[in-house]
Point group: C2
Chain length 330, copies 2
Amino acid sequence: MADGERPVIALLTAPDEGPPPGLEQLEDRAEVRHTTTREELTDAIADAQILLVTDFRTRFVRDAWPHARKLQWVHATSAGVDALIFPEMARSSIPLTNARGIFDRAIAETVLGMVLLFAKDMRTTLTLQERREWRHRETERIQGKRALVVGAGSIGRQIARLLDGAGLWVDGVASRPRSDDADFGTVYGTADLHEQLPRADYVIIAAPLTDATRGLFDRSAFQAMDPGARLINIGRGPIVVTEELVAALHDGTIAGAALDVFEEEPLPPAHPLWDMPNVFLSHHMAGDFIGWREALIHQFIDNFERWSSGSSLRNVVDKQRGYVPPENPA
Amino acid sequence: MADGERPVIALLTAPDEGPPPGLEQLEDRAEVRHTTTREELTDAIADAQILLVTDFRTRFVRDAWPHARKLQWVHATSAGVDALIFPEMARSSIPLTNARGIFDRAIAETVLGMVLLFAKDMRTTLTLQERREWRHRETERIQGKRALVVGAGSIGRQIARLLDGAGLWVDGVASRPRSDDADFGTVYGTADLHEQLPRADYVIIAAPLTDATRGLFDRSAFQAMDPGARLINIGRGPIVVTEELVAALHDGTIAGAALDVFEEEPLPPAHPLWDMPNVFLSHHMAGDFIGWREALIHQFIDNFERWSSGSSLRNVVDKQRGYVPPENPA
């Protein structure tokens, strides 16, 4: 790139999406090429120094990758970057950054809402309201209940803080076990997951999708859980073996599930999860608070300015581990 | 009562209710006469030293009152005691105690659940689930939102603690204004209610029903609230002028309401509140956690032992103010 020339940002969004709000602030400092198809991305990536991806489900980046000749940096406006860590990308020295931090608090609030929806039996209350039927019931307290948060990254940590503040006992499961964590009671190693599952009233998946987490919640995990326990997944769909979850919910192996992510998204209309009375389904939106798009671009521009001035980028993903490790500047 | 004789406890419950679980522990120490009608109570109260009332809506106590000749103590297994403070009772020197403390935490959890139900738009999510319809939406954060808790007694205080822990800013309204309260930002006087209402995203009624609070939430209060604000009532129904609330919800003066208590309970099937899309209705159960009946009797037995040994009772209601003031032993 010649001195004074504006760098090219190849922007890939979903087909129905415009450029994210706030990106126009870079007008004078970068040339943004908005693409929504494989062909458009292949063209744009050839000239781009920066690739900005807002569609976290895309496979187009892998297809266009061989055409990237000038690329210096890839940024994803999502916390999960599993779709972007294909082998060619993982081998390259081009840094990948993500939206670590933006969604944490909103996701934690959603998880707390899901816990209270179960404990206070609010779904039954809404059903009775439709029938205009008054029926006094006793409901559960959340104080003193046990939560096990699988994934102790920035999202899992916020969940732990919020649930702890609401009176639950919160332990974690992560690749690095530790007993001195400020936000968790104890963080157990992944190998101890099945040993810890029986103790939890709420099991919360807040892990990235990696080789270590894919299919982690299968029949044997559900069988290890307490029959009164609920599973909450705000991480990634494929961490759960969906058919085995449906079976476990159907036969009472576990008591309920609140799911924001799925193996296939959108969840197909014919899927059995939709009408299970002990399942609460939301639409991959747990972290998407009003203003999230602006916040994501604010974060990208902050990193753009670091890149422009030659400073080190924030939120650099460890491509082997699949997430931003705590030691990376954030 | 002759030495060694067992005192008589007149127990008044709702017609469909048995004696509360745990009361059989007093078998050797007291004679419990279970009554469910005006006539039964009138008979039993004539011999009773203690009156134990589990039906907080009753008018039978007032009717039977002239027959009480030996009565030394009245205990209500509810937090609200408005139905028991009739003029003859208020004038008498017989102490009235209540269930202060038992319901606090469970009610606070319910309020937090109601706040999250609104913020995360979970009702729409459930409606979409019924239709098997995937629709991504943006929802509100609760962090940084403002709550105004009307009533700074033990229930209001627990609500403040839990909402504060979840990241909201919480002020209070009470008869005694103060700025040094450990659980509230500022506690304003009741005279300042209308001045504070516009600042709140969530207005939570946690006050007892007294002359000062009856009808406090009328048209003018709703007009003072922010159009995006929600009203939560877990106190007593008649603190709200229901028709004026229905109008305010209907014309958008306020955004929503979550109600656990009503002027008439059970809420009649034909009432317009049932099918308002911005209303969440529960059935006077906000504090009724699994195990609450046992906890209530445990508390009564504790006071019974104090009464038997001549110690001062806990949770003595100030009959002029209509609640247990903080200075009473609790």
